[in-house]
Amino acid sequence: MTARDAVFEILAENLPGAGVRSAVEQLKKYAAEEFARRSLPCGGLEAYGTCRRLVLYAAGVPAGPQAKALAEIFPLLLGRLEFPRALAWEPSGLRFPRPVRGLAALHGERLVAFSAAGLRSGRVTEGQEALGPRQVKLAAAEKYFKALEHASVLVQDARRLEAMRGALAAASRRMKLEIEAGEDALGENLYLAEYPVPVVSAFSHEFLALPAERLRACLRELLFFPVSDAAGRLQPYFAAFRDGISKGQRNVEDGFRAALESRLQQIK
């Protein structure tokens, strides 16, 4: 019997980033346990997370009666996830950091039907929020990532990270300056945007008189990236990410600058 991929997406209201990273690891670990417990073979299990969704992707799950186990496994996984801080939002008693708003579950083209968190699973999800409310209908599990990418959502953490690195490298070349984007700082930005778009802005020269480490700490606090020259001297610029598309960049550049300068004014 042919094997098809299976996908399970939990769509929620914006989740605290720290919880997402750990939930992604849990999702993958618990899925491996539950698949093994039911002797359900699969070609590979992977989990992903953004600020609004947690996703389990199981490659090559055999079709037929065995696949019925998916409808038991998916809600079970949802119930097993633990977060640093979670509340019960509806009568099912499921504890989650913020309300769950959608469950999408497919095996190949087939809906994996179950109820959890007061919701029924379906084949519809949402795209990038900055583009307005847009529903995305999923034709098949195998088309999940492409469908979401078309709707300006990069679901896979590694793809998002790669896009962020590429965008900063390009901005850095354009400016002929170094953008200080360490792994930690990139990691903090990873669960901020579903479609990270780079923003480069400037701040007033007067703040360069501040001790460099204080300036760096202040930028980092706002999840902005410092910019320095070849000798490592800070320059009056910074890079950041916004969520969505590159329309109205000027609004965002000016807003980020005002936010930074008002913070720097406080520590001056």
Binding site: E13, P133, R242, G255, A258
Partner: protein
């Protein structure tokens, strides 16, 4: 969009969502079974982390599944095109209180625009209410593309600065 036009647009938007509009300064009535209240008010500044003197406040009980979406739509009603701005949702658990709470500080282009807080009550059958607090000055600054509150148009040629001259704001 004028400052007062923003208030009118928000009033009309939330009224269409089924909210009762409360005049400024009205005390919030005792919690009823179902309640949807909205209105603009001038508050004592400096206690909620938002800029400016004026807040638009919405209270939804129970909070519908689309409460967050309704908030986003209200920004559009006030002249903000979401696709041209960045919104950041910083997790915020609210001040300590008897009810469990969770929500966000919402930043518009990096600057505090609003707080959106869910409060959950009822152990066996939990129910969430939502309280939304928006800085009207921040909303108007973005809507009118101005840099300081004083330059904001309040009504036609009358500016915010003229209306608040002598207040030190």
């Amino acid at each position: 969009m004028d400052f007062q036009e923003i208030i009118l647009k928000l009033d009309r938007y939330w009224a269409r969502q089924g909210c009762a509009l409360l005049p400024p300064g009205a005390a919030r009535p005792r919690p009823a079974a179902r309640l949807c209240l909205a209105g603009a008010a001038r508050l004592a500044p400096g206690n909620d982390g938002l800029a400016g003197l004026y807040r638009y406040r919405v209270f939804l009980s129970p909070a519908p599944a689309g409460a967050r979406r309704a908030f986003l739509e209200s920004l559009r009603a006030a002249g903000i095109d979401r696709s041209e701005h960045d919104l950041r949702w910083l997790p915020f658990d609210g001040p300590d209180g008897p009810e469990a709470a969770a929500g966000w500080n919402v930043l518009l282009d990096g600057q505090a625009l609003a707080s959106f807080l869910y409060k959950v009550s009822g152990a066996g059958s939990p129910q969430a209410s939502a309280e939304i607090l928006v800085s009207l000055e921040r909303l108007a600054l973005a809507s009118q593309r101005r840099r300081s509150a004083g330059e904001l148009s309040w009504a036609g040629r009358l500016t915010y600065g003229e209306l608040h001259a002598g207040e030190g704001e």
